[in-house]
């Protein structure tokens, strides 16, 4: 079997989807665990912190119109650079009480359905959508399962894919598993400098792959979930800088840096014809992956 850096090998040739990117410099290995810690730093700005800075006029919406309101997801509409903008984000709590209230940023199906309700509003009223992703994953509870956690995530992705308005997904902290990707199927997916994006949390991977809950650092190094790596793989379209020392050290500055990217990008996306924007969005997710082709079966 070939490894990704070899362009040919026993039994196959490398499909050059991401080969170009992988040929770039590797991530600095020591940074990975630091990035994991930074991405989860308890003083890091959460969606409501960004919203308060980017959109002083913001109306938070509540409820999925089906069953309840999930505090792990905040959703609403605000005034942004002279036009309406919708935001959906996973919200962690800062102190112990708030963390419990927000269920540690782990959404239930009601949260994703609240988001879909807002997507429907975006579609009808032609309002662009920004998602702010920061979750250890969707909530793993028996009730959540029975109310369709899997289907809620799947439908959220499908609905984002079909939206006719410009969409930007920003990984602002910890983007873990399908619970993160549910809000991540956007025209542009960007990561803050110290954000991570991964198929599973390092702790989860440690327990499952190493069968040892203490191997999280090892797992983090293996997953390489940093913004730089995600950018190399094509999973992130851009990396938005954080203030020196990290976003947690200067919320205002972090918001201003994000503002610069968002306002420019929304404007660029609005300038694209709808058909082209949708083509690009589909193509973006259609091409992701790395594989070989067997020359003979």
């Amino acid at each position: 079997m070939s490894t990704p850096t070899a362009s040919s090998g026993r039994g196959g040739r490398f499909v050059r989807r991401i080969a170009g990117r992988l040929a770039g410099s590797e991530a600095v290995p020591g940074d990975t665990w630091d990035a994991v810690l930074l991405a989860r730093h308890q003083d890091r700005p959460y969606p409501l912190d960004y919203i308060a800075r980017l959109m002083p006029d913001f109306e938070e919406l509540h409820g999925d119109r089906l069953k309840g309101d999930d505090p792990a997801i905040v959703a609403g509409i605000g005034r942004y650079h002279g036009a309406p903008l919708a935001v959906i984000g996973q919200q962690k709590g800062r102190d112990a009480q708030d963390r419990a209230y927000r269920n540690f940023g782990m959404p239930s199906p009601e949260g994703y359905r609240k988001g879909m309700r807002l997507m429907d509003l975006c579609e009808r009223l032609e309002i662009p959508l920004v998602t702010l992703i920061d979750t250890p994953g969707a909530f793993p509870g028996a009730d959540a399962e029975e109310r369709g956690q899997g289907g809620a995530i799947a439908r959220s992705m499908l609905m984002m894919l079909r939206l006719r308005v410009p969409t930007v997904a920003v990984i602002i902290g910890e983007g873990s598993s399908g619970g993160a990707l549910a809000l991540g199927v956007a025209d542009r997916v960007v990561m803050l400098e110290n954000a991570t994006y991964s198929v599973i949390s390092p702790e989860g991977a440690s327990a499952i792959l190493w069968r040892d809950a203490s191997k999280a650092k090892l797992a983090a190094a293996a997953f390489k979930p940093t913004a730089a790596n995600c950018y190399r793989w094509g999973v992130a379209d851009a990396v938005v800088p954080e203030p020196e020392g990290g976003a947690h050290s200067a919320h205002d500055e972090a918001a201003r840096l994000l503002d610069g990217y968002l306002s420019r990008t929304i404007r660029e996306l609005q300038a694209l014809p709808l058909a082209e924007r949708r083509r690009q969005r589909r193509e973006r997710f259609r091409r992701l992956g790395a594989m070989r082709e067997a020359t003979s079966a």
């Binding site: 919406l61 119109r65 089906l66 960007v190 990396v239 800088p241 201003r256 929304i266």
Partner: protein, 337 residues
């Protein structure tokens, strides 16, 4: 869609109402709060938006009081005011429907909903406000038609539609034609949606039956007043049918919020400001101005980001080697889009 010309009775502007119009004074000089038994004189009530100054209980409001309140005392322009109830079934229960209508009209209101064009905190919009005092705020043909004309008027003026509901449901005395008004309000909202205009709901006490099961459930944003009962089937019907013992707060706004059916429970005294802000948020900039404005502001945003980026030497190292066009470069100028 047949578009009848929209008729507006501007002779019904505030201050020009005939003396036989709606009672501006509540009957008697005082009202007592059913929750805390405090007594208030009529002018105290009006000053506090018909909210109990002691316990915040929200009293009922007439449609005219509601429109005056939302318009901040400024005049409003009625839409479809000339419409009056008919009696297609020649309906008689304990008394003839025509007599019920006559009695309700004699109290001053012309029907259970008034639609009007007005400004809330400087935001032009159309508001359809229901009148519980007119046959329990029931939705018959006139309510359906006034709601539909309100939506059509909003489309014609390119402004949002707001509705304040207070209704026991469909007007039974108009039979199946009353039921059809539910569908008519849905048609109206679909036209509004085609025009990309927002629909904001304010659920006042009570919002039940066919009103809750039609347009009142379909707000883009839905506020409810504190303590408002919001239900399809009322508590009595449920208890009689299922012999369930209902909790004391069954169907109340606060509980409907918990169950995800309401965006916020809003004190009536804050409602004009809240609605004004919301309409401001939702306002779409004119197409062209939007692009230039967005472009301008994005430029500003980028310049600020560029200044910040001076302090980020580590970033350029990390981003090195990437294709330039796919990266966010705060220090680079924008190409025109």
């Amino acid at each position: 869609m047949s578009r009848r010309p929209i008729s507006i009775s501007i002779d019904r502007l505030r201050g020009k109402r005939p003396a036989t119009g709606p009672a501006r004074r509540l009957p008697g000089d005082e009202r007592s709060c059913p929750h805390c038994q405090s007594h208030f004189r009529a002018e105290e009530m009006e000053r506090n938006c018909y909210v109990c100054a002691v316990c915040d209980h929200h009293f009922g409001m007439t449609a005219r009081q509601r429109l005056d309140h939302l318009a901040g005392g400024e005049p409003w322009e009625e839409i479809g005011g000339e419409l009056r109830a008919a009696d297609p079934l020649r309906f008689v229960d304990l008394e003839p429907y025509t007599e019920r209508v006559r009695a309700a009209e004699a109290k001053g209101a012309t029907e259970a909903m008034i639609s009007a064009y007005l400004e809330i905190e400087g935001q032009p919009c159309v508001v359809s406000a229901m009148e519980f005092g007119f046959l329990g705020g029931s939705m018959g043909s006139v309510v359906g038609e006034r709601f539909a004309r309100a939506a059509e008027f909003a489309v014609a003026r390119n402004v949002p539609l707001i509705s304040v509901t207070s209704s026991g449901g469909a007007r039974m005395q108009e039979g199946v034609l009353a039921l059809m008004q539910m569908a008519k309000t849905i048609v109206a909202l679909d036209e509004l949606a085609d025009a990309r205009l927002p629909f904001v709901m304010v659920l006042a006490h009570p919002t039940t039956g066919g009103v809750w099961a039609s347009f009142a459930s379909l707000g883009d944003v839905t506020y409810a007043e504190p303590g408002a009962l919001i239900a399809f089937s009322g508590p009595r019907v449920i208890e009689q049918t299922t012999h369930e013992k209902l909790p004391a707060n069954f169907g109340l706004a606060e509980r409907q919020f918990e169950h995800g059916h309401v965006d916020a429970v809003v004190d009536r005294r804050e409602l004009p400001a809240r609605l004004g802000r919301l309409l401001g948020i939702l306002e779409q900039p004119p197409r062209d101005e939007s692009q230039s404005l967005a472009s301008q502001l994005a430029q500003n945003g980028s310049e600020r980001a560029a200044r910040m980026a001076q302090a980020l030497p580590s970033l350029s190292r990390r981003l090195r080697g990437r294709p330039a066009d796919a990266t966010y470069h705060p220090s680079r100028g924008h190409s025109g889009s």
